[in-house]
């Protein structure tokens, strides 16, 4: 019997994923699943796992003798994460599927309680990510303040040696975990469907799952502080990793959890961008931010499994007593180095590419010019993404790797600066002879170019093997990656936040506070990290609590600037609180007069994004063009506050 080709079936009957009874829940539904139940179930899971680990492990000699039970810690954290996911409702559908049922009572919540629940609207997930990411960032930032306090004086120590190294390790790890999702999570999830003219993400449940896993990862890595911390820095080198106390499990397992979050987020983004582009949106009409998202998603999905494996092997070394990373027992410390950096290099491009995308998206709006060399921007991002898998050994040039590899990796690393440079071509070309409105988002984008230039050029120095001998392992490389990651990505993130927040929340941000935030952040960021190039050249290693006395002046300058940099974020927080909660002002639908598809929606954006799925006619960069084609056909619904292409009105209300 062949597949029936009878009458066309009414698709409305069940549009996949086959649907639910949407009953509206009341905001005060305390007995439903929300973050409270997640915390409770996570806590219970933790206790269960810890007890189980003690039950299993207490008879083992090495555990009884040392008093440290890594098995208990591992199981405690594992069950905590599972409990957390169960509590929030992330596992309802996977479990229900096993008995072939839809999860009962998948209710639709409205109101503020949505943000504390497992919600399938990509816009809600985006805002949840904003909060999560800012939480990570401020935690890591406080730890950074502690580091700079310790480094004020080479002989007077604020922290004990082991406390200091824990703080350094925790700072690095939290920041890296945060930075891998800082743009993809909040802005990617929120805006990619809108930018491609879609009503939804391909797999909303996987998207929400990635958020709640990300938050769980935060708790896991934070738990290190309660287990005595870990001494290896964010790079986790073995066998120090094998020697360390139980806090090391928080690192290893934390990375495993975060890598799952990264994989799921990237998976969802990639599949959405490939399949859910609105009719008419060919690849040459895709906004450059979306290009950066798909390039990033490729790395997120393919590189994170390697981290997952590396972390799993590390946990096995510490619990099952395998010897993956212990040379004396048939393992190899280089195995960790290679696995970690094979992930680690794409990881830093996971951090750089979204910054490029944001900058490419925002600059045309404020220049009122099309993005210069759009195809080169897209090619650059794909090129960076591809090449990033071939450069990892530049992190370990002097480790004792096969010396034949060194010129090879030097070449590939130098080559990757070619596509990276494309973003500068695109930016400079767009700025050329424009009439630039220096609003707060635009200032952040200019700062990205300034900072990433220094970061990128210092990267070329590092890629050169002879010079690498001078600068590896010290403050030069530290300054390099702070310039690229913080100076590039984080500045871009804030620029994107200032740009898109009025659309996300419907409330303008305060311009004056924004300007104060930008200038203090930019000036003090450079004052903090530029001297570190010099400090590094003068021989101060990383992760040390003491240094040569003659470097104290520079260190102090850097530390004081760092405190001011930290303070600049308070201005941001004040802006956020004031403009979003305390004295909010309604924002017009398209305050920046952008041609982007995401701006051609009402504010606040309705749950279904677009009244009709638009038919795309051209790319969104036709600024200041006489006779420019219309962006899209929105069907019966009139385009809401469509921006004018031909004029460069500075009046946001037009």
């Amino acid at each position: 019997m062949t597949i029936s080709a009878e009458r066309p079936v009414d698709v409305e009957a069940s549009v996949p994923p086959a649907n639910v009874e949407a009953s509206k829940g009341r905001a005060g539904d305390w007995l439903s699943q929300h973050i409270g139940t997640a915390i409770i179930c996570g806590f219970l899971g933790y206790i269960l796992g810890h007890w189980l680990g003690n039950y299993i492990g207490n008879t083992y000699g090495n555990i009884a003798n040392s008093g440290q039970n890594s098995i208990a810690v591992t199981l405690a954290l594992l069950f905590m994460v599972i409990g957390w996911l169960l509590g929030i409702g992330a596992l309802n559908y996977p479990l229900a599927k096993m008995i072939g049922r839809q999860p009962k009572g998948e209710v639709e919540y409205t109101g503020w309680s949505r943000y504390f629940r497992y919600n399938l609207d990509h816009k809600v997930v985006g805002i949840q990510y904003v909060v999560a990411v800012l939480g990570f960032f401020f935690t890591g930032g406080l730890l950074a303040m502690a580091i700079r306090t310790e480094l004020l004086n080479p002989t007077v120590h604020v922290f004990a040696a082991d406390t200091y190294i824990k703080i350094v390790s925790e700072h690095g790890t939290i920041m890296m975990m945060m930075a891998s999702s800082v743009v993809v999570g909040p802005l990617g999830n929120y805006f990619v469907p809108l930018m491609i003219g879609s009503r939804r993400m391909a797999f909303p449940r996987i998207e929400a799952f990635s958020l709640w896993t990300f938050v769980a990862g935060y708790f896991v890595i934070f738990s290190a502080l309660f287990f005595g911390g870990f001494p290896t820095g964010w790079t986790g080198y073995a066998p120090l990793q094998t020697q360390a106390g139980p806090g090391m499990i928080s690192y290893l397992f934390g990375f495993a959890v975060i890598s799952v979050g990264m994989m799921t987020a990237g998976f969802n983004l990639a599949v959405t961008i490939i399949n859910y582009r609105a009719p008419g949106m060919t690849w040459s009409r895709v906004p450059v931010f979306v290009w950066s998202m798909i390039a990033t998603a490729a790395l997120l999905t393919l590189a994170s499994p390697v981290l997952f494996a590396a972390g799993t092997f590390g946990i096995l070394d510490r619990t099952a007593q395998t010897a993956f990373y212990v040379a004396e027992h048939g393992g190899s410390s280089y195995l960790w180095e290679n696995l970690f950096w094979f992930f680690g290099h794409p990881e830093v491009y996971i951090m750089a590419l979204p910054g490029f995308g944001i900058v490419g998206e925002i600059i045309p709006v404020f220049c009122r010019k099309p993005l210069f060399a759009y195809r080169i921007a897209a090619a650059g991002m794909i090129g960076v993404s591809l090449l990033s898998f071939f450069v990892w050994q530049h992190h370990i040039f002097q480790s004792g790797i096969d010396p034949d590899m060194r010129p090879l990796f030097m070449l590939t690393t130098e080559l990757i600066s070619i596509p990276t440079g494309f973003i500068f071509l695109v930016g400079m070309g767009t700025l050329y002879k424009a009439r630039i409105r220096y609003e707060v988002p635009m200032l952040f984008c200019m700062a990205v170019y300034f900072n990433f230039l220094l970061g990128g050029v210092s990267g070329v120095f590092l890629s050169d093997v002879p010079v690498n001998v001078t600068v590896h392992g010290g403050f030069f490389v530290l300054s390099h990656f702070h310039y690229t990651i913080m100076g590039g990505l984080i500045f871009a993130f804030f620029g994107g936040l200032y740009f898109w927040l009025p659309k996300m929340t419907g409330r303008t941000t305060n311009k004056k506070l924004g300007l104060w935030h930008f200038w203090t952040m930019f000036v003090f960021f450079n004052l903090t990290f530029f001297p570190m190039f010099v400090i590094g050249l003068l021989g101060q290693p990383r992760r040390v609590f003491t240094y040569a006395k003659n470097l104290q002046g520079l260190n102090d300058f850097s530390s004081v600037s760092a405190f001011c940099l930290g303070a600049s974020f308070l201005i941001f927080v004040a802006n956020l609180m004031w403009s979003q909660f305390i004295a909010p002002e309604k924002s017009p639908s398209n305050p920046w007069d952008s041609l982007g598809l995401e701006w051609q929606t009402a504010t606040p954006i309705p749950a279904y994004n677009f009244e009709r799925i638009p038919v795309i006619m051209t790319d969104p960069y036709h600024y200041s063009e006489v006779g420019a084609p219309v962006l899209a056909d929105f069907g019966n619904a009139p385009p809401v506050h469509a921006a004018s292409a031909a004029t460069d009105s500075t009046d946001p209300d037009q």
Binding site: Y237, P370, E414, I418, Y432, R435, Y438, V467, G473, E625
Partner: protein, 322 residues
């Protein structure tokens, strides 16, 4: 038409002037003082390499900064005489600009990769650790190293022989063994001037990194691995050794001074230390590239104590006892 050329031409002229000035200033005023100095051949090589990179990098930085400044001053909407932006296909791309950019960046980058490779070869690894099978070795290194292991190595002033020095890293101290002088172990790192030194870096526990700053030598110390790095001392003086890879709590305290002395002074020190330490050297493990416990117990079989490995678990291949 006129004003279009004006902008670009103006930018280029300013850029050329600033770049030449910057490069000259850097090369003559700052360059000679760039760390780590000129104490060894690798220090000189790497300093040159750094300066070349800077001379190429400065114009890039100047160019972009100048463009951004120009955008802030001349193309600013606040400026009343800034003309309106013009869109359209001419603003969206410019074949000449795009192709020039791609070609110039590719050429520069490939040149740098090639130059770096040449510097690496010329400098016999430029002071970086090359692992246990180095491919870039100065003349005489292979013989000296082989002889050192066999215990037949010699070194004397004015002999132009390579001096092997073993660096042993452990938590949290570096010690140094001199195989050509009986294999004595010392906390002091004294080296003769005008000599090629072969550093053999290993670790007893976790990963450290031997970073002799002014010598411009950096090689990670891995357990069970002999990481070899070469340099040639060329000036007398003191230098600082710091651990360059996080190795635990006291990583920051893992540093010691070192000295490059005249060849005769070194010979005196080495031979007198050899005889002074003779009794100690006898009970040390014999000189080897790495020191790790072997498969039959933590004592590694080095100490002739006839003690059975303390745990049957340590006899590999057997089942864990119930």
């Amino acid at each position: 038409m006129g004003s279009e050329e004006n902008h670009f031409r103006r930018i280029v002229i300013i850029w050329v002037v600033l770049s030449i000035a910057g490069d000259l200033l850097f090369w003559f005023l700052v360059g000679p003082h760039i760390p780590p100095g000129r104490m060894t051949s690798s220090a000189k090589d790497d300093q040159l390499d750094f300066n070349i990179l800077m001379v190429i990098g400065l114009p890039v930085v100047i160019g972009v900064f100048e463009w951004l400044a120009y955008a802030g001053i001349k193309w600013n909407a606040r400026n009343k005489d800034t003309p309106e932006s013009v869109g359209g296909p001419r603003a969206a791309g410019n074949k000449r600009a795009e192709v020039s950019w791609i070609v110039i960046t590719s050429v520069v980058v490939i040149f740098l990769a090639g130059f770096g490779t040449v510097e690496l070869y010329v400098g016999s690894g430029s002071g970086g650790g090359e692992g246990p099978n180095p491919i870039l070795q100065p003349a005489g290194a292979v013989q000296a190293e082989t002889a050192a292991l066999a215990g037949t190595g010699t070194w004397s002033p004015n002999s132009n022989e390579v001096l092997p020095v073993q660096v042993i890293g452990q938590q949290w101290k570096f010690t140094y063994r001199y195989p050509t002088f009986g294999g004595f172990e010392s906390s002091d790192l004294i080296l003769p001037v005008n000599t090629v030194i072969a550093f053999n870096v290993t670790s007893l526990d976790v990963i450290h990194s031997f970073w002799a700053y002014q010598l411009e030598v950096k090689a990670d110390a891995n357990p069970q691995i002999n990481n070899v790095a070469f340099t040639r001392t060329e000036q007398l003086g003191s230098f600082e050794v710091r651990c360059g890879e996080l190795c635990g709590i006291w990583h920051g305290a893992m540093f010691n001074p070192g000295h490059v002395v005249s060849q005769s002074a070194f010979m005196t020190w080495a031979t007198s230390t050899e005889s002074k330490n003779a009794a100690n050297t006898k009970i040390l493990p014999p000189f080897a590239w790495t020191y790790v416990p072997d498969a039959n117990g933590a004592d590694g079989g080095y100490y002739p104590d006839n003690v059975v490995p303390y745990s049957p678990v340590e006899v590999y291949g057997s089942k864990q006892p119930s």
